[in-house]
Amino acid sequence: MVAPTAKKLFSVTLRIWRQAGPQQPGKFVDYPAANVSPDMSFLELLDVVNDGLTKDDGEPIAFAHDCREGICGTCSCTINGKPHGPGKGIATCQLYMRSFADGDTIVVEPFRARAFPLVKDLVTDRSAFDQVQQAGGFISVRTGAAPDANSIPVPKEDADLAMDAAACIGCGACVAACKNASAMLFVAAKVSHLGLMPQGQPERDKRVLAMVQMMDAAGFGNCTNQYECSAVCPKTITHDFIARMNRDYAVALFREKFKPASNASGGAG
């Protein structure tokens, strides 16, 4: 049901990719939606359409969502060819129906990439990102009492830049938008956010080498520097982080090769 509103309601047609499972064939199916409020979010409209489908004993449209406030990166789908739909710096859950006009046909598809296999309808499995993250997107610290907040000084500029990179919510839109389904923006954001902090230095080289290796193994494509990724990123993460990662990777590769390794085999005794 749509909440009562004084605003003018309108109608759109949702053309949605329906696919029962990874092995089944998929196709676009049209769903007319009337009484659309401009203040509805796009996901709310999907909820309303699904209500109707359920009432009619139809199979509701599977779509992924969680926080619905742009911070979790779950709500991943491609709307009119653009991941997260029209608008800049927003996730699908932050898209409102006022971005569309009466009579519009809105085409909704899953993210398409070999590394993001389809689960059902608009839902894809993006666990390849988790694998990349687990390959090196962390720092090794001893747990214990919380350290004093100012025990490690961090220059403000570095902290700001690291925060820009850390804003990545792992949604996968960068991969979805790239014609090569490359994950460079995501990996660059993860590599940079730790690489810019003093706590990230001990594992800096190992991290970038391992994460890039995992990225390649997961079947993402290669970057051709066309910056479609940063154009659709809901957190407007800049592709300058990709240049930074390229630099980090080169340095790590050479250091790895030429840095002498210790022969010592452990602690005393």
Partner: protein, 233 residues
């Protein structure tokens, strides 16, 4: 993994090789253009320059082999990366949408084919001198009064007097400039030389370079066809 292995197998490693070989070829075409522009000076300049290059002997062959290796690596990796990139998206979107990828960036493969055809034609034309048996006999006496060298000035004027050759030349350098319009920025990004402070300046440099490269190159056949550069006595 060893250094060379990582360079030739990882995604970023291969991008580095694309950028590095691109940089070498960029340097080469720039130097080549500067050499060619001597056509606007008295004929002994460009002929002496060509003679200097030819007299490098083994050195010249080393340079040629190095450039050939760069071209082959650049082409081989371009094919390999393109095939992988296509495989990374097995199913296309129903709605195609481009956010900001430039036309130059989307035409890289197509512009490269014309450039490659041009390189082959150019080598056959001036280096092997196929179809011009007489060109090997064109000689020119340098300012010292006795050194006889290849008359490159006459070869260029004769070559560009053919309108079809000139038109092909202008189209090819135009497409090469367009290839570089994406290539230069891409190279800087891949080598990690770009950041928020430099981006604008580097972009302006790339645009200015490409226009300059195209116009200066096109000026040569146009000057010949327009009768501004003539066969010397």
């Amino acid at each position: 993994m060893n250094l060379l292995g990582s360079l030739f197998s990882s995604s970023i490693g291969r991008k580095f090789l694309m950028a590095a070989t691109g940089l070498v070829l960029f340097g080469f075409v720039t130097g080549h253009l500067l050499g060619n522009l001597q056509i606007f000076l008295p004929p002994q300049k460009i002929n002496a320059y060509g003679h200097m290059l030819e007299s490098l002997g083994a050195g010249l062959w080393l340079i040629r082999l190095f450039l050939l290796a760069c071209v082959l690596i650049h082409i081989w990796l371009a094919i390999q990366l393109t095939l992988e990139n296509r495989a990374a998206r097995p199913q296309d979107y129903g709605v195609a949408h481009i956010n900001r990828a430039t036309l130059a960036s989307r035409l890289m493969a197509r512009t490269s084919i014309v450039v490659l055809a041009f390189i082959l034609f150019h080598l056959a034309h001036y280096t092997v001198r196929a179809g011009h048996p007489l060109w090997s006999e064109h000689t020119f006496t340098l300012a010292d009064g006795y050194t006889k060298v290849r008359d490159i000035h006459a070869m260029m004027v004769e070559g560009f007097s053919n309108v079809a050759v000139s038109v092909f030349y202008i189209i090819a350098v135009g497409l090469l400039s367009y290839h570089l319009a994406h290539g230069i920025g891409s190279m800087l990004q891949t080598l990690g030389l770009k950041n928020e402070k430099w981006t604008r300046g580097l972009e302006r440099f790339a645009v200015a370079y490409c226009w300059g490269y195209f116009l200066l190159n096109a000026a040569i056949p146009l000057a010949v066809l327009g009768g501004f550069v003539k066969l010397h006595a």
